[in-house]
């Protein structure tokens, strides 16, 4: 860990935080701790210049003891490493097992552990991955987050290299049948656009719950823990979000002069084949696909503009088809 001048932080504040972090337990040099604090503050206030009180509040809110442990480990202090191995490494491997119970993520944990130890030597200086820990979370949380990030990034890079499935394989996408009911196809198109727009109009946290529940297959308990709410609350919010989506979709379809019966048919059309309205597909759940290629979100954003006209055109086609069928 590089030693830099601590122009950002008051010396008295650093000393106070050092005592609070129990830095002396690891015989951690004060300057090293000060530079770690400064790196943390610089990241937190990257886009603004904090005053003394803001800095004070920020530094006091840090997980200082964990920061001192990380700092000491990065410095290669044996006692700190023993502490890390005893207190934190088991959690790291438990997290790896939780991500992949078959043990497929153990190598990620091993790799991370090596990087934390500082196997990466650059310009004669050992560079530990601990330099990215800033104390804004607990060390255990940070380790789990780093592991999760690496798992997802590896999954994405792996899937990009996977060949497309052969026509005969189970993963192959079946070709659309020639015998598609045009009226139903029109309903499905309307519903997909309307639902995507309705989901996009939700509050971010509601959208997050829907994504996690339907696209990422998390349980209500996991969602609740993640958002610091009870399972019951997560369930309630999820139900409300569904109701909101439903209401918005109905409103949208009525705005297109659809009757109640037609709206019911729209819902029936997507229910008859659930693949028509799979939220995971609408929002995108495959971590192997390209980032930012969320077709649902893009459609939703475009819906307010010219796409609305297209939707109306399609709705007219549906109407005409319906009338033709009645004749």
């Amino acid at each position: 860990m590089t030693q830099t001048r601590t122009a950002f932080l008051d010396r008295a504040l650093v000393e106070r935080l050092y005592r609070k972090a129990r830095g002396e337990r690891w015989s951690l040099p004060l300057d090293v701790f000060a530079s770690t604090l400064e790196a943390s503050a610089r990241k937190a206030f990257a886009s603004s210049t904090p005053d003394a009180s803001q800095l004070d509040r920020y530094c006091e809110s840090l997980h200082l003891e964990d920061l001192a442990v990380a700092c000491a480990c990065a410095q290669g202090v044996d006692a700190a490493w023993e502490h890390f191995i005893r207190e934190y490494r088991p959690g790291l491997y438990r997290a790896a097992d939780a991500i992949d119970p078959s043990g497929g993520s153990r190598d990620l944990a091993d790799s991370l552990y090596g990087e934390l130890f500082g196997l990466d030597v650059r310009d004669g200086e050992r560079r530990s991955h601990f330099r990215y820990f800033h104390g804004r979370s607990s060390l255990a949380t940070w380790l789990r987050a780093v592991l999760s990030q690496r798992h997802v990034d590896r999954l994405r890079s792996t899937r990009r290299q996977d060949p497309l499935p052969e026509d005969e394989t189970p993963g192959a996408i079946p070709a659309t049948s020639n015998e598609v009911d045009p009226q139903r196809a029109g309903y499905v198109g309307l519903m997909r656009r309307s639902v995507t727009a309705a989901v996009a109009a939700l509050e971010p946290r509601d959208r997050l719950r829907l994504r996690c529940y339907y696209a990422q297959d998390l349980t209500l308990l996991q969602i609740g823990r993640m958002l610091n709410e009870s399972e019951a609350t997560a369930s309630r919010h999820l139900s409300r979000a569904r109701r909101d989506v439903r209401a918005t979709v109905e409103r949208d379809l009525r705005a297109q002069r659809m009757t109640d019966a037609e709206i019911a048919d729209c819902f029936a059309a997507v229910v008859s084949d659930s693949a028509y309205l799979d939220l995971a597909e609408l929002l995108g759940s495959d971590p192997g696909s390209d980032p930012g290629s969320d077709p649902g979100a893009k459609t939703a954003r475009a819906e307010s503009g010219p796409a609305r006209k297209n939707a109306n055109v399609e709705r007219s086609k549906v109407k005409e088809t319906s009338r033709a069928g009645q004749r």
Binding site: Y132, L208, L218, N228, F267, A268, G292
Partner: protein, 387 residues
């Protein structure tokens, strides 16, 4: 947030790094920044995947020790009990004379508690005034149990940081995550297991074979006042609930099982429309206490009348003119003419998750705490059954 420094497209430049995710999860970000992170997490596929992976690594939170079990507070239990009994002895007026009535035969403690409420058991009739007072004191102490038992159950089920939230949302806790009744019109006949039913099956394995019979409406011969009987029934159900109620993890797991591909479509479409065997006749719930009926397959809807405004959760229609609806707080309604719903009595004020009706008098309901109850006389009596 920061880029990943790998020269990826601009969309990745705003992606969240692990340190920021950890800070967000631990509440270490200022509110404004946390909101930005949350919005990004909700919209970015990669970051949602990272968050979901992260969520799977969150260890189980330790169960909070109930307040009364903490060693330094245990001495309060006998003191508080004695004080309560003394206060009741002084404050509660003595009944003039026990009322004569016939106790309803019941197989559990509910019967004895309820009979004490009404003072109808033979022992109560023969008791001296002082014994009667003691019984009354015991009874009142027993009446105070349900809330304590419920709180204890909640404490055991929720993490410490969720405790206050769970208590605040006690009513909401009863709301099922998924509308899973197979009677919903648009949804196909449910191949999806209901969490409650899963819990019911689990309960059935462990429960003994006895069938319990309950009567929601106190028969005329039973002098127990409904207001007093209700807490006793609640207590009885609360006593049974810990074994029957699905744990949060079980609920989540079952919910997850229910989430086959496209379940969102079914759930979205099932809020709540009930079709009769004749597809032309159907009902739908359009809001709290608002129900509409259609006799032409949904082309035109006319409002139906409910006796009260309540949140409805499921329905079932066994014939074109009969429809049952269930909802929160013991709400069950039935109509036999298609338009006017009447309230069906039930044993307690639990929430329902589903109903399956056979005709205008017979129906089976599933409660949120895992019970399955059947009536064959439009709610006059209820029989607990295995699912």
């Amino acid at each position: 947030m920061q880029g990943n420094g790998r020269g990826t497209p601009d969309t990745r430049a705003a992606c969240i790094d692990a340190e920021t995710l950890a800070a967000w999860a631990d509440g270490g970000l200022p509110r404004a920044e946390a909101a930005v992170v949350e919005t990004h997490l909700a919209d970015c596929e990669r970051c949602t995947a990272m968050l979901a992976t992260f969520a799977r690594t969150i260890p189980d939170a330790p169960v909070a020790e109930p307040l009364w079990k903490r060693w330094h507070l245990r001495w309060l239990v006998p003191v508080a009990t004695a004080a309560t009994v003394a206060a009741l002895w002084v404050l509660v007026p003595r009944p003039e004379s026990p009322q004569m009535s016939r106790a309803v035969a019941r197989s559990d403690s509910q019967a004895s508690i309820e009979s004490q409420v009404s003072g109808t058991s033979g022992a109560a009739q023969l008791a001296t005034p002082s014994e009667s007072k003691e019984q009354e004191a015991r009874l009142r102490a027993a009446e105070s149990k349900p809330s304590g038992a419920l709180a204890k159950r909640e404490e055991a089920q929720t993490a410490p940081r969720q405790l206050a939230d769970a208590r605040g949302d006690r009513d909401e806790k009863l709301q099922p995550p998924l509308p899973l009744n197979e009677s919903v019109a648009i949804a196909p006949a449910a191949p999806v297991p209901s969490p409650t039913r899963e819990a019911d099956r689990a309960e059935a394995k462990s429960a003994d074979a006895q069938t319990e019979r309950f009567s929601p409406t106190a028969p005329s011969a039973n002098a127990a006042p409904p207001a007093a009987a209700a807490p006793a029934a609640s207590e009885a159900s609360a006593k049974r609930a810990p074994a029957a109620a699905p744990t949060p993890s079980a609920l989540g797991a079952a919910s997850s099982q229910a989430r086959a591909s496209g379940s969102f479509a079914r759930e979205l479409s099932a809020l709540i429309e009930i079709a009769s065997p004749d597809p032309m006749s159907r009902w739908r719930v359009v809001g709290v206490g608002r129900v509409e009926r259609s006799t032409n397959g949904g082309a035109r809807w006319e409002p139906a009348t409910l006796p009260e405004s309540t949140t409805l959760t499921a329905g079932s229609s066994p014939s074109p003119s009969v429809c049952w609806l269930v909802g929160r707080a013991g709400s069950i309604y039935v109509t036999t003419d298609g338009l006017r719903f009447v309230r069906v009595p039930f044993t307690d004020r639990t929430d329902f998750v589903s109903i399956r009706a056979t005709d205008g008098r017979r129906a089976t309901v599933a409660t949120i705490d895992g019970r399955t109850m059947r009536t064959e006389d439009q709610g006059v009596t209820w029989i607990r059954v295995r699912p």
